[in-house]
Symmetry: C2
Subunit: 690 residues, 2 copies
């Protein structure tokens, strides 16, 4: 029985067509649909017991699943695309993520042809398992601060890998703690007593025979992390080297080499791949954000339709929570954000292809803009997603606090995406940053002064300031920054909205977001010019600069959503729903950042109030479609991992049944009763052994 | 060695005096200091292994600690105040919290003298252990929706307690799942076929001999909750009744009775106690918020001073993270908020005494205002605290994701305070609400239409709207709402700030916050008046109303902080630091809600920018005092439970040592290697049993 059938009947659009829009293409939809069901129907991939397992059991179970997934991939002769989807739907962080996502790409990207020929076949068959050992106990975001050394010994033609201090211990790499046999280790290269910055080295860590650490290698797990299951399925590791020797040919030498006599040389290999990968990785992160947020929104939306609270009339049923405006005001902007991030992610795929093509033609002109805009979007979408998941948890009331709601796990697994260290794709990103810093003459903006945490937005701000400073020079701003070319118009223009519906005009909305972004950037530039030392100004004004960067990035998301709606969108009512969501997204931002819009005098308070009126009517428009809009994500109950979000809405019996599976319910009288509760009840505590 | 000694030397104020200000009095400081060290130095209370234990071990250990704490309290002949502090510093949710915090007070507050005489001595000696069984699987905030029935059987002079549906299962009560022998159970009273609303009953659940559930009672734990240790030390329970009979005299009959022949009667006992308790409970919640936030801020501040990232000059050390403006801009407002919540909590203590005194003199005039303002402050401080803890975690970078940082636990333990269900003190609060709804003719504002989640703020908004509507009637607004009396002045007045320092004038600041609050309330009232059905208007405009309520509550916090500074504050430099923190608190709010201030035209964009300039210079002023300002909270390392926040700042060696204690490091080769990793490496997966 479908307890949400009434909700589904209300939908005013073609859900099947929307599923294809969400997936990006019919093919992607078909593969995702098939593989997600395959995983969901295989008891070998069950995950509902994950939060009850102690660390060792949990980890052992993950090792089993990883091997089982690999076995199934072979048995079913899955294509690379299908295999990757299968790993995705298994939905459990594991050492294999690092092996495939970081170790293999590092060798592909930084290894010479010869190195690739030697190591990749081993890695592809998983005859060796690799990790990516970059961050250190005392050094996270700042790759240039790494302390591990790789000193060339010309006598033996070897590098000596060493951890000179406690803070130089490698710390965080996933898969390192207990599984990896090898690692790409980043270290400070020293030849002939001279330093040459950070480079990558392939280092064997454990014996392929008995899995014991090799001599000179101390390695282990760094301990429990946030959440119950979450990333505790992963053996994030600590690693110290005591003068470990590796052959010279295990330095990854594609972009720089050390010769037999210890000379350091830069190769003339083009850096294209590195630049392209940067955009590629960020696109993945934005897509991940849209996926995580849409999962949380699915749970919160379905449960808000199931849950009833207050408002009973004459003893009838209480009101569905989703009918409260306060609930809509918190939930629907997140639903809209999930779609917005999806489409900006799609656009990033286009950008990646565009950048790659240009690079192949040695056209570097769009790189600084692509770099800044992808950095900003990464920061914007991950922060909004982490906050959004937690908001969805709160929107589920008390039951959102139960692990069986799925939301605590989703939150705990997602949040590392905001803090860089611990998140593998971002480690790769950081690595690429280093490369960019090291080699990129096109990236003067990017330097060591990036403040922690918000570094990506500071980077965007630097790019904006540079753009503003060059506006007079005749250099025309390109791509996402093109609107800066209209600066004179935007600085003077005033919003012409007279009634609420005027806020549905895309041109009107774009101008509002452009005017806000330009005016904030110009205001920062003016304030910066008051400082004699620009770096000092940058440090002092960094909070304002970050706000200007956010305004710029929000404009990008809004404009890409609007662009999407200019495309041909088939399916009854699909376009109308997307238009309503787009409106919710930008009007919600407009209201949230009303201060910016008013401070720049683009809007009057009256016009801001009209925007808010229009936002409320869009909520009413989306309300009957809400459940169908989350159905369009096409997530299986297995993937969602949430009783509150289950497809059929049969929440309470499932919650009730799940409760009894907790280990604490193995016995009616709990362990510890006889030692610690009975003596208390019987007033015999003074003689009890505690 | 103290690695933060340099930071401590920088302090420009008397830390010992600040400790007394924070504690509230010299006496409170002395007791807290002594008891917290007693707990910290007793290995019986160690908690550093908590996140590594599986559920059963974790729970058993909590049973041990609860018994041990009780034993120590007796051995040391602790006073009631000291015993309560000891339980506080043990810092682990346990069934005893509910026994002492809910079961005993419910009997005291709702039981007749006779009932108290019978049950309280048993509870005081813990010869019975009680819980508070109110919320049900399908019914959280809305007490009036509870389904459990208590039907009077005049033939046997008994009540029959019954769970008629699955959704009527009691769900969430702490201590119920595995420990409690008794519960105060809330059920729908039925006598002679007539319903009389929700009442409390004392029901025995388990045998005092063998701890087995009594006939007709089905009881168990509801399963894992958010976080590693966190609330998983608590046996939140599920409970179903199958026609369980209890004697008539186990209905709590202080405010209403059922006679031998089944007649329902209201007593004439005064409701004072109930009203007073309401204010008391909320004061506790605000104090808890200030405590939780200050713990998180201590960790983030100390680690921000220890941690260095980027900015190395000529190979020197990198910059302390706390020196980045972006870090200060996120951290210092939280530090200021912790102090702000402390002082508004202190004021609530005063309010509690004031309300109690008035009630004793049958003066109900201040009740609606006290009710609205405490509701709003509860909502405001818990939301800001939950968000603030997570922000502190992010401010610690990647290492904040480790359980050994203490922040994941702090977050997971704290968040229930925002979502009502699951949080025990709030359950009490809800219970009192019910009482208030049931009996309080003074509370017409409070009705069943409270929207979920934000219900407390909606309640504040209703109070504001009522106040606005009565302004013409000559009724003078009192207490925290007194500023509404100046409405004509406030509606017209404009900010006179001309330079940044003008923002340091308290009168200027108060007027700004008052004008914003008044104008937002009036604007809502105007929009409401356009609806013919006020309830419809309230539903439609609820998001705006909530914003107006927030503005009102923020004004209260700001004004109480300013009031505090008018008091005599001894100690070198103490007052100056508090002034700087107060300035940070209100200027941060002003910037965050700039849209409100500008939309109401009280401020010009220029004046808002000046506020931001002043905020930045206050950061500079607080910076050298930051570590001393968190030292002033006087938390032991045991209580903080965080390696990142340890007093001596010796973070990295401690993190390194802690890693090796994870169970996964019990063996060098992990469990599961032979079954699941080796077959993979050796290409023997096809024959492996997975």
């Amino acid at each position: 029985m479908d307890y949400l059938a009434d909700e589904r009947k209300k939908a005013e659009f073609d859900v099947d067509e929307m599923k294809i829009i969400w997936a990006g293409s019919r093919h992607t939809f078909e593969v995702s649909d098939r593989i997600s069901k395959l995983v969901a129907n295989d008891p070998g991939f069950r995950k509902d017991n994950r939060t009850m397992l102690a660390r060792k059991e949990l980890f052992k179970n993950t090792l089993r699943k990883a091997a089982y997934a690999w076995k199934r991939i072979h048995e079913l002769h899955l294509s690379e695309e299908e295999a990757s989807r299968l790993r995705f739907y298994v939905d459990e962080p594991a050492y294999t993520d690092l092996h495939w996502g970081m170790f293999v790409p590092a060798i592909k990207g930084q290894g010479t042809d010869e190195q690739q020929k030697k190591w990749l076949p081993l890695a592809y068959k998983m005859q060796i398992i690799g990790c990516y050992a970059q961050t250190e106990l005392g050094h996270g975001s700042n790759v240039q601060g790494l302390e591990t050394t790789a000193t060339f010994d010309p006598q033996t033609d070897e590098f000596v890998i060493h951890s000179p201090t406690l803070t130089s211990s490698k710390w965080w790499p996933g898969g390192l703690g207990k599984v990896s046999t090898h690692g790409v280790v980043y270290a400070r290269l020293i030849t002939n007593g001279e330093e040459h910055g950070i480079h990558g080295f392939i280092v064997q860590l454990r014996s392929l025979e008995d899995h014991l650490p090799l001599p000179g290698v101390t390695v282990g797990d760094i301990g429990m992390k946030f959440g119950n299951g979450a990333y505790n399925t992963m053996d994030n590791g600590v690693l110290r080297f005591d003068h470990v020797r590796i052959p010279r040919n295990q330095m990854l030498m594609r972009v720089s080499q050390v010769t037999r006599d210890g000379k350091y040389k830069q190769s003339d290999v083009p850096r294209q791949l590195v630049y392209g990968t940067m955009v590629y990785v960020r696109q993945t992160i934005v897509a991940d954000a849209s996926c995580a947020l849409s999962r949380a929104v699915t749970i919160a939306t379905r449960y808000s339709a199931v849950r009833r609270q207050f408002g009973s009339q004459n003893g009838g049923p209480e009101t569905q929570v989703i009918d409260y405006k306060t609930q809509q005001n918190r939930l629907f902007p997140l639903l809209a954000s999930a779609y917005a991030f999806k489409f900006v992610g799609e656009w990033l795929t286009w950008l990646y292809n565009d950048v790659t093509q240009r690079l192949q033609a040695s056209d570097f002109s769009t790189l600084p803009e692509a770099h800044a805009c992808t950095a900003g979007l990464k920061s914007l979408t991950t922060t909004a997603t982490a906050d959004g998941i937690e908001e969805c948890r709160k929107l589920c009331g008390g039951h959102g606090y139960l692990c069986s709601s799925g939301l605590p796990e989703l939150f705990a697994v997602y949040v590392p995406a905001c803090t860089y260290e611990g998140d593998n794709t971002v480690l790769l990103l950081q690595h690429i940053f280093t490369r960019v810093v090291q080699y990129g003459k096109h990236f003067k903006l990017l330097d060591n002064k990036m403040s922690c945490g918000l570094s990506l937005l500071v980077l965007v701000a630097r790019f904006l300031m540079k753009t503003v400073s060059q506006l007079g020079s005749g250099k025309k701003p390109l791509g996402t920054i093109a609107y800066m070319g209209k600066i004179e118009h935007l600085m003077q223009s005033r919003c012409t909205v007279q009634k609420a519906e005027d806020w549905l005009k895309p041109s009107q909305v774009l101008e509002a977001f452009e005017a806000r972004a330009v005016k904030m950037a110009v205001s920062c530039a003016k304030n910066l010019s008051k400082f004699t030392n620009p770096e000092e100004g940058f440090a002092e004004l960094s909070a304002d600069l970050v706000e200007a960067a956010v305004a710029h990035c929000q404009l990008i998301v809004v404009s890409k959503f609007i662009d999407k709606l200019q495309q041909d969108i088939p399916g009854k009512g699909v376009k109308q729903q997307l238009e309503a969501l787009c409106g919710i997204y930008y009007l919600y931002l407009l209201h949230k950042h009303q201060g910016d819009f008013l401070a720049t005098s683009y809007l009057t308070p009256k016009q801001a109030a009209l925007a808010n009126d229009q936002l409320r009517s869009l909520y009413t428009k989306v309300r009957p479609n809400a459940v169908a809009l989350v159905d369009s994500f096409n997530y299986t109950d297995h993937f969602l991992g949430s009783i509150l979000g289950c497809y059929d809405g049969n929440v309470y019996p499932k919650l009730y049944d799940a409760a009894w599976k907790d280990p604490l319910n193995d016995s009616v009288v709990p362990e510890g009763y006889h030692e610690y509760v009975r003596p208390l009840l019987k007033q015999q505590l003074h003689t009890a052994k505690l």
